[in-house]
């Protein structure tokens, strides 16, 4: 069996005194898109932040390519190749698009110029706006900048926290197709989403999180077809 790129093993974690994740296990294999779905407050974003060492892990382990990175500070985690796109506030609004990307490459030793060109190929819309302040862009374009910024390093895995929240349907589809494109460049992706249906549509596998623990798991298509899950999240208000 190949080692997963990222594995969370029986994680208990939270902020301060409050425990949010009670028992969470999940993994991402090479070349996979994995979605975490679940109701509001289930701990989806917390799961992601625990990978980055942004909160207290009480028990369990986080592993990157089989090596423990539990409780490693964010900067070290990022240096080791985990790229993270927060849900909101994910671009430097006062910096130009290109400067945002350059900042994304902070931990990259060399080849920044070349990587910039690759990113502008992957996100052609951004190429013509490279001198514009990121704050002046639309929500969808900002999301593109945020993803491109995260990919400026040679990411071993990309974590996306609700990349389509608050976007119009048109942009939503565009983001999901971009996610496919990123996967095709060989970067596995862990994605937290409220738009469960579309997320599962592009995902190889998915986890359903309820009350800080994984309740269901399966292939993207399988979960999307599961009637219980459909009743819980897909049709409803979330």
């Amino acid at each position: 069996m190949t080692t997963p790129v990222l594995a969370l093993k029986n994680l208990k974690a939270g902020y301060g005194q409050t425990e949010i994740l009670h028992d969470l296990s999940l993994h991402v294999m090479p070349n996979e898109i994995v979605a975490i779905i679940g109701p509001n407050g289930a701990g989806k974003s917390t799961a992601m932040k625990s990978v980055l060492g942004l909160l207290n892990i009480r028990e369990g382990a986080v592993e990157l390519n089989g090596e423990a990175i539990t409780d490693t500070p964010a900067q070290k985690v990022i240096e080791r190749g985990i790229s993270y796109v927060p849900q909101t506030n994910n671009v430097f609004v006062n910096l130009s698009v290109q400067e945002n990307l350059e900042m994304g490459a902070w931990t990259r030793p060399k080849g920044v110029e070349q990587r910039l060109d690759e990113m502008f190929d992957l996100f052609p819309d951004l190429s013509e706006k490279r001198a514009q302040a990121a704050g002046a862009l639309s929500g969808g374009q900002r999301q593109m900048v945020a993803m491109a910024k995260a990919l400026m390093v040679d990411a071993k895995i990309l974590l996306l926290d609700e990349p389509t929240a608050g976007l119009s349907p048109k942009y939503r589809s565009e983001i999901f197709s971009t996610i496919q494109k990123i996967k095709n460049t060989g970067v596995p992706i862990l994605i937290v989403e409220q738009n469960a249906k579309q997320a599962l549509g592009v995902s190889d596998r998915g986890y359903v999180l309820v009350d800080g623990a994984n309740r269901h798991e399966g292939t993207g298509a399988g979960l999307a077809a599961d009637p219980e899950i459909a009743r819980m999240f897909l049709g409803g208000g979330h």
């Binding site: 964010a74 900067q75 990022i78 430097f92 609004v93 006062n94 400067e99 900042m103 902070w106 910024k149």
Partner: protein
Amino acid sequence: MWDAFGFEFVNFYFIPGLVLGCIYALGAIGITLTFGILRFANFAHGEIMMSGAYLTWTVMAIAGAAGLTLHPLVAMVPAAALVIILFLGTDRFFYKPFRKADTIKVVMASFGMMLIIRSAVQAIWGPNQITFVPGIARPNATLQSITGDMGMMILMPNKHIWIFAGTLVLVVALGYLLGRTRIGKAMRAVSDSPDLAHVTGINVDMVIRATWIVGGICATAAGVFLVMDTQMLETTMGFRMLLPMFAAAILGGIGKPYGAVFGGLVIGLAEELSAYPWIGDAPLLSPGYKTGVAFAIMVIMLIVRPQGLFKGRSF
């Protein structure tokens, strides 16, 4: 239009206003960068400025004892290095412990530092005024004769020319740093969003050190320019500068170095021009109230537009 009015206005109000403005601008750069990147109002900034001037004087005095006459701008270089060490040491021992705490704790710590540094300077150098450069500064003769031939005589002593040139060089260098270099862009990024900078992998500690270094250089320059202008050293000068510098930083928008420069020039000019006899023969505002001008501008900004003219951060 270059009649007695113009001559008097430009030479005795406008140019001194610009000189003062340059000093405020350099001081405000450090304040606005600290406020933007470390997120707190550093009350010790004026005292750091003042100690920079004292250190410069000491370097000049030591060199003088060795038979070497140093220009303040040269003596400023080793002094600035010491000020940077002072800044970094202060940060390490007094501010860093509160990095994760409520910002007001750091403000309080900086308030304490203000007193510690001033008392230390008073204990070392004594509380009395020290003459920085003796003698009366004569207007630059070349400039006087050239502008005089053109029918608009400008009386500007060399010290003012140095101050303008020094400020210009520093502001251009700062512009290059923030716009073209990796660390400078990272400083803007941290000022923009520290959280995002953190999860982007930017070395925030390095950015903070860079901020103190840039702030230290500008503060030393501001302190030295001020004593070059007044030719006097005294231990309360830092405290007196503090309010106008904060006013300049707020006017220009917190976290906006160019805003701070603009704000500094505006406050400097406003302070000097408020003493001009705009109506009748008496000064518009008694010179005793000069410092009040900065405060008034600041209060008006806080009421009308707390984010400053250039859309800085408003908390």
